[in-house]
Subunit: 405 residues, 2 copies
């Protein structure tokens, strides 16, 4: 009898944790496992704002996949998924031959959606993977170096615009506030010439937070020089500026750095498997399988758990994805052995948002609020816990964060 | 009686060494000394190719002027010289009030001359100071990061064109050959996609070297992937390419990095003092004073010593400039004390050209040739000797090069 073939697409939090759990729980003779990912490394998405600001090098964020998988149990194919064909249980890859699966796990994550503003595709930046984070880091350094080296100085080179006020933008603002003084020193730029400006469409920033936490975040960021402009309608991105409307007036803000990290949607290849819902995600059942296919699991930020006629609402945290990977790994083993499958019951420790090294805000599910270094410490502990779970103490020692203060 | 006022313009090799020597040999009551420089740091011009390639950080190359001067003897003014008026013994500065001198020392060095090719001003890069070296370093990293992050990849981002084959170009090529593998690793770029191409107008490269040394340099650089194209007439620099003619055919070479470091001329402000000769330099007498003014000294790369009806010919090395600073400092003291002035008699140790860390070629005045690590070692020893002379053992320990192998 042929061994069942489990294919895992994507080595983000969901995909890599499912792989690691399966290679522990399954024997070589139980199944063959193939992992497909477009890079030969896994990375921590929640650290990308630090890579982008330049406060943590991307080498620290990346973990080679070969360090995480057991070669005798898992085959790794570095490639990009072109399309999925559920009726033939087939996956088309860009460089390699087609793959055929018996059980499929999709952890392809989300893609940035370009804001619907003229010029945004050409002139706005996102932070959604190692390449784009690394690009932003170099873009900032390049503009500081250019400013110092050009005869006719363009003040826009020193203006950084952050659009929106979602978690990634806040965290990036916090890191940039810490990074800018270093950049000023390295490039002999007067700190007062540098502006970090948050443009927000609504009349309030941080509306997603409890008011006490929002106030703390606002104070922390403004005290470090971040400016907030609310009630803004972006009109156009150009090479050297952003054009926006406020109070029915058109404003031009000189800048070469417009960062939009708010809009995201599920990886487009998921549409081959299941229709996207209005949130740009795929509905899955409580056992993490899609509505349509009982041999296809979807997990992570592209999955929305559907239960008892309504969507489960929970913050899309790493913790939730890791919990889902445990459900997926358990259920795959259960399917192979005809055992009982289990359901995903999110148990949350709350959310923590960094405001730069050593500062942050967090809120537990019990409503407990934390500010400053306590929240930052909690976030770092969560990240270290993840590394421990993924690769044991040796990975934690290599990639963990230990410079708490 | 008013103390005589000595003004030193420029804190390059010549200016800073004259200042340091004068503050040792003169007492506070002998004269007041003012040093003017456009940055608050001195730097080693001979290290700029390393800063530009990114193999040595510019922080290592820079030395804060406050660490070199004695405040009670020397006043430092960070400013740019606008013009010199010898008849009024006056110097106009950009930001500060005019300065009046009794004795003037000019060590303003040389400026890059933009090649006379359409687009060169906009699209070619030079390496002539910390700002431009730092810019090139970031320009390279920015292009590697951009290449990885763009959908439609522009192979020109990975092509580096070096125009001409003077010392600075060869040294930069050697450093780049060492740096590129690091950049490829940091940005996940296939090394075979990167090209470093030297475009040379004449039919031979390295014609300024002894044939044995030239052959060694050629072998060393080509073995590390540098390509040489000779008999080239550059026609146009564009944002994404260089256009040149070879064998009566027009060629387009995709690149975003065109580096021209060959053409230099004396700082334009020197024309206020003395007419430039056909080499773009100022003729000085053997006591380092200009032909026209017996209270104005010029030294360093902008000065050409004129003696017995002909120009002294010697390579414009750091060693020669340091020797000139000793002559200038001695002669200023001699003028103040009505003692005998001395002449500049260059005594050379030869020239050493780096081909990247741990490799080089050198030729002594006795005709002795050195290759490889011996030449590189000799160059590093010269550089360390200079630091010792400038700031004593503590400066040598802080800024010296000690990683020989």
């Amino acid at each position: 009898m042929k061994k069942p073939h489990i294919v895992i697409l994507g080595a983000g939090y969901g995909g890599i944790m499912t792989t690691v759990k399966l290679q522990k729980s399954l024997k070589v003779e139980d199944a063959s496992i193939t992992l497909v990912n477009n890079h030969d490394y896994h990375y921590q998405t929640t650290w990308l704002h630090e890579n982008a600001a330049g406060t943590i090098h991307d080498e620290k964020t990346r973990i080679p996949i070969r360090d995480l998988i057991m070669n005798k149990k898992v085959s790794f194919i570095p490639d990009t998924v072109v399309s999925i064909h559920p009726e033939q249980k087939k996956i088309k890859l860009k460089e390699n031959d087609c793959l055929y699966y018996d059980i499929l796990v999709i952890g392809l994550g989300i893609e940035p959606a370009i804001p619907n503003i003229p010029g945004a595709e050409e002139y706005s930046l996102t932070v959604h993977d190692i390449n784009s984070a690394r690009y932003l880091r170099e873009h900032l350094e390049f503009n500081f170096a250019s400013y110092q080296n050009e005869k006719e100085k363009d003040p826009g080179r020193l203006n950084i615009v952050l659009a929106g006020s979602g978690y990634p933008v806040i965290e990036l603002a916090g890191e940039l506030a810490n990074r800018i003084p270093e950049l000023c020193k390295a490039y002999d730029v007067e700190k007062s010439l540098v502006r970090i400006i948050n443009l927000e469409e609504s009349s309030h920033v941080f509306s997603q937070f409890d008011s006490q936490l929002a106030e703390y975040a606002m104070n922390s960021l403004t005290s470090r020089g971040i400016e907030f402009i609310t009630g803004v309608t972006p009109k156009e991105c150009r090479e050297d500026r952003i054009v926006y409307e406020k109070d029915h007036k058109t404003k031009h803000l000189l800048t070469r750095t417009i960062i939009c990290t708010d809009s995201v949607q599920a990886s487009s290849v998921l549409e081959d498997v299941s229709a996207m819902n209005s949130n740009g995600k795929v509905d899955v059942q409580k056992d993490m399988r899609t509505m349509e296919h009982d041999n296809i699991f979807v997990l992570g930020s592209a999955a929305q758990v559907f239960s008892e006629g309504r969507q489960c609402s929970y913050p899309p945290t790493v913790r939730a994805t890791v919990q889902q990977s445990a459900v997926v790994a358990h259920n795959i083993k259960a399917i192979l052995n005809n055992e009982e499958i289990i359901h995903f019951h999110p148990s949350f420790l709350g959310t923590a948002t960094s405001l730069g090294h050593n500062d942050g805000i967090s809120e537990g599910t019990n409503g407990r609020k934390l500010f400053g270094w306590k929240a930052a410490f909690m976030k770092i502990m969560n990240e270290n816990r993840y590394l421990l779970e993924l690769g044991g103490p040796s990975l934690l020692m290599k990639k963990g964060k230990f410079n708490f203060f």
